[in-house]
Amino acid sequence: MSAEVLLAGGYAFVLVLAGTAFERMASHAERDAFDSEPSGLRAGRRTPRSARDDPSFAHLHAARFHRGLALILCVCAVYILVIVAARHPAPAPLAVLAGAALLPGWLAFRIVPRLFGKGVSREHAPRPGR
């Protein structure tokens, strides 16, 4: 097995780990925004910490920012794996690379709906400046 194939697989794993960390940061920022939401907006869920912490568009946009970067890492990982697969089209390397691609695929599958779906990020975005 070529070292390049193993390195690509290993690096894809590292990118997924970093992407997972970014996604957790995004979730954390989003949770902060939820926690600080006025109670009227989400009765039955968490209790707001205080009135001063109104829903913060910065939290929601920062969440999108970190989530977007997490998705970019997934794309990067798949991109690297595909390019390396094109250079090593034998069955064994392809099997290894396909296996490695499952991880970024799984993370992207989790991220995409949250990033592009009709989530809170859009509902609570601030009114545009114009």
Binding site: F57, I72, R87, G129
Partner: protein, 761 residues
């Protein structure tokens, strides 16, 4: 209009005293280290001769070679002591390896069974006599020099562009002799034992077992201690601030603000002039990014730029020189413009003639940029070899001294512009309040940029590196950071979302933390450049502490932002700065990742020993410089542009595309290429040798070439989607500037009611 006044300091005097104390301590230590580097640097021998008294080369040859190396832009191609460009080899390591191999082969030819040991012994033995200022080379070392002079002669005379240099770059045999002497001197400093010590002048750098160069005890010890400083420092600081809330901003901000809509905020003539600054900034940014793409292409495909031999016209060292110089120019242009834009908001007035003076400054800036870039091109091509008008050659301080002096004068002129606006406000404010900090932080920019003038081509390379990093590190990482912190804090104050007292505490904290780590931490660039070992010890220990404020201020900046945006939510009018704030969010991210993680990654002396001058350095440089200062410069431009053009001419869509493209492009550049390439290069350096890791054979290898190509999509996104929308927006700012208001400037403020409300203690 009521002039605000705060004759008393808004926060405890303890902050001011701590700041002054830490600042003075840092510069006192730096002064001592300047003295030490002066007396303990590797000497340049008056002559180098063999035991039979044949002169191999002289000190004049070394200095002449250094001048050729700098004036022909070779520091932007390869490196000395690991400092410089990364396409060419490190000439210290290159000479040392080739000379050692030559000497060892000579011993082997004599059937010596201990050829390797004898070679190492020969290179380690320091035969410099300080009385006669003569260095004695063994006959074999002298023969190696003669052989390598021919080798480097052929190397620089190469009539092709296969190395990324212009064809027949340097053909004069005297220049070849000088360059070889310069390389030989650096290799001697890298291998010969420092008098009374068991390591070389460069702390045994480069790693080269053939001459007995291995990591030193101090290197490992201070690496460990710097880790302790980092972890302990973060723990103590977080515990202390979490426990006592010194900054006082974890309380609530109860005021409600009413944001003025863009178009309702009256602008002064000086502020309107900044539209052109931002346009020039964006144009320089586009040019800088394109040049970055072209210098990157050399690494992917060295002698073919999509069918065109670019090195005939813009060799690698020209592209890289322009790339790094323009990085400073475009960011500085944005900061200068932001200073001119903010000052009238602070002072609530603007004297007559400010716009004319601002345009004069912009014109002077244009002359400096054009003149210095041409001088650098002329230096590399050999048309101008004068360090005043040609290529001065120091990486990041490449501009000729004439242009360097003009730029310093321009920065002083800019401080005068800011001062004449602030003058009346300063009279009524206690020294130490925000208006004074704004002025002092502006004043620090020309003052510390001017320190770069101390470095000149007639000094030894060790001494020039010491002074160069006062600009590259201290100016950029401390004083630009300070100025931007003051400006961003002030913008939040002017927007009415954070009280002046809170902002003031943040700024003082910033100064204290950065002065503790950043000032002495400058020495982390000088582990292996010939400075004595205390530079490595203090540099490693204090620069580890630099990561603490990066971590801490990122967290506190988040709180800052949270309080600010909570205010915005209460505002009765829309907040107009979504994308400027988002750029600030990305600054926080890249500050932590690029400067903090990637910076600390290469900060430990033991890591730097194998890594310096590889893609991991470039990885840190790009993530930190573009990620922090670049994003901030664009954010400041968007903030000002929002007011410079009518509301209906503004495009949130363009700002959004630029924001995402710049961040995606930068992340792609870092994670698809620079970081993995740096790791591979580090592995090559440790497992095979630093010499091997810096050779073109490695850089053009199959896997490395693939990694270099991988960043192409990210670079396209960065250039097309990231820089062009900024250029378009700034052009609209010039084309559709809001009309000049001649009435009493009631609307000089971004908010109504509490825009520039000040606190009393």
């Amino acid at each position: 209009m009521t002039q605000p006044s705060n004759p008393r300091l808004l926060i405890s005097r303890g902050w001011l005293q701590a700041t002054v104390l830490v600042f003075l301590f840092g510069f006192f230590v730096l002064g001592l280290l300047a003295y030490r580097v002066n007396v303990a640097q590797p000497p340049v021998p008056e002559r180098v001769e063999t035991p039979s008294k044949r002169v191999v080369f002289t000190g004049d040859d070394v200095m002449a070679g250094q001048k050729v190396f700098l004036s022909r832009g070779l520091m932007q191609y390869g490196s000395i002591f690991g400092h410089g460009g990364y396409l060419g080899p490190d000439y210290t390591a290159d000479y040392l390896r080739r000379a050692a191999e030559f000497v060892k082969a000579e011993y082997a030819r004599e059937q010596r069974s201990d050829a390797g040991e004898q070679t190492a012994r020969e290179f380690k033995t320091n035969l410099y006599d300080p009385e006669t200022r003569t260095l004695t080379y063994t006959e074999k070392q002298a023969a190696a020099f003669d052989t390598l002079r021919s080798y480097y002669g052929a190397y620089f005379s190469d009539s092709t562009s296969q190395k990324g240099l212009k064809p027949s770059a340097i053909t004069d045999p005297d220049d070849h002799h000088g360059l070889t002497a310069f390389f030989a001197w650096s290799a001697w400093a890298g291998s010969a034992l420092r008098p009374g010590k068991d390591y070389s002048y460069t702390n045994n750098w480069p790693p080269e077992p053939r001459v007995g160069n291995e990591p030193t005890g101090a290197m490992v010890t201070w690496s460990v201690l710097s880790l302790v400083a980092l972890l302990g420092g973060i723990g103590v600081l977080l515990a202390a601030f979490g426990r006592w809330n010194w900054l006082g901003w974890h309380g609530s901000e109860e005021r409600a603000v009413l944001f003025r809509r863009p178009g309702e905020v009256a602008l002064t003539p000086g502020q309107r002039a900044t539209a052109w600054f931002f346009f020039v900034m964006a144009a320089l940014f586009v040019a800088q990014a394109l040049l970055g793409g072209s210098s990157q292409h050399y690494r992917a495909e060295i002698s073919d730029f999509f069918g065109f031999d670019l090195a005939q016209l813009v060799p690698f060292n020209v592209a890289r020189t322009w790339h790094v110089q323009l990085a400073i120019f475009w960011v500085a242009t944005s900061f200068l413009a932001a200073g001119i834009f903010i000052a009238p908001m602070v002072a609530r007035r603007e004297p007559r003639g400010q716009a004319g003076l601002a345009y004069a400054l912009l014109g002077a800036l244009f002359v400096v940029v054009a003149g210095s870039l041409f001088g650098e091109l002329a230096g590399v091509h050999g048309w101008i070899l004068n360090d005043w008008f040609g290529h001065q050659g120091f990486e990041y301080l490449d501009l000729g001294r004439f242009w360097q002096v003009l730029l310093t004068i321009g920065l002083v002129f800019w401080v005068i512009l800011v001062f004449r606006v602030l003058r009346t406000r300063l009279r009524t404010e206690a020294v130490g309040n925000m208006p004074w900090l704004f002025f002092f932080s502006a004043l620090a920019l020309p003052a510390f940029y001017a320190v770069g003038l101390v470095a000149h081509q007639e000094m030894t390379f060790t001494a020039t590196e010491f002074w160069r990093f006062w600009v590259v590190h201290l100016w950029v990482e401390d004083f630009l950071e300070l100025f931007t912190t003051v400006m961003v804090a002030y913008i939040f104050v002017l927007l009415g979302v954070v009280r002046e007292k809170v902002a003031l505490a943040v700024v003082y904290l910033d100064i204290v933390l950065y002065s503790v780590g950043g000032v002495i931490g400058t020495m982390h660039h000088l582990y292996f450049s010939g400075a004595p070992v205390e530079h490595m010890a203090l540099g490693a220990f204090f620069s580890a502490a630099e990561v603490i404020p990066l971590t801490f201020l990122t967290l506190e900046a988040w709180t800052f932002l949270r309080i600010g945006t909570a205010q915005q939510q209460r505002a009765a009018t829309p907040f107009p700065h979504l994308w400027a704030v988002m750029f600030l969010v990305s600054v926080g991210f890249w500050n932590f990742v690029g400067a903090g993680i990637f910076g600390f990654l290469i900060n430990l002396p033991i890591v730097s020993y194998y890594e310096i001058g590889t893609a991991l350095t470039a990885n840190h440089a790009h993530a930190a410089m573009m990620g922090v200062y670049g994003m901030l410069a664009v954010g400041l431009a968007l903030f000002a542009l929002r007011y410079l053009m009518p509301d209906d001419k503004w495009s949130d869509r363009a700002a959004k595309i630029s924001f995402w493209s710049l961040n995606i492009g930068l992340a792609w550049m870092v994670f698809a290429t620079l970081f993995p390439l740096g790791i591979l290069q580090l592995y090559e350096s440790v497992s095979k040798g630093y010499f091997e890791a810096r050779q073109l054979q490695f850089l053009t290898g199959r896997t490395v070439s693939l990694l270099e190509w991988l960043r192409l999509p990210g670079d396209i996104i960065f250039i097309v989607g990231g820089t062009l929308p900024v250029l378009w927006l700034t052009w609209r700012g010039v084309r559709h500037r809001v009309p000049l208001t001649t009435e009493e400037p009631q609307g000089y403020f971004f908010t109504e009611g509490s825009g520039v409300e000040t606190d009393r203690p």
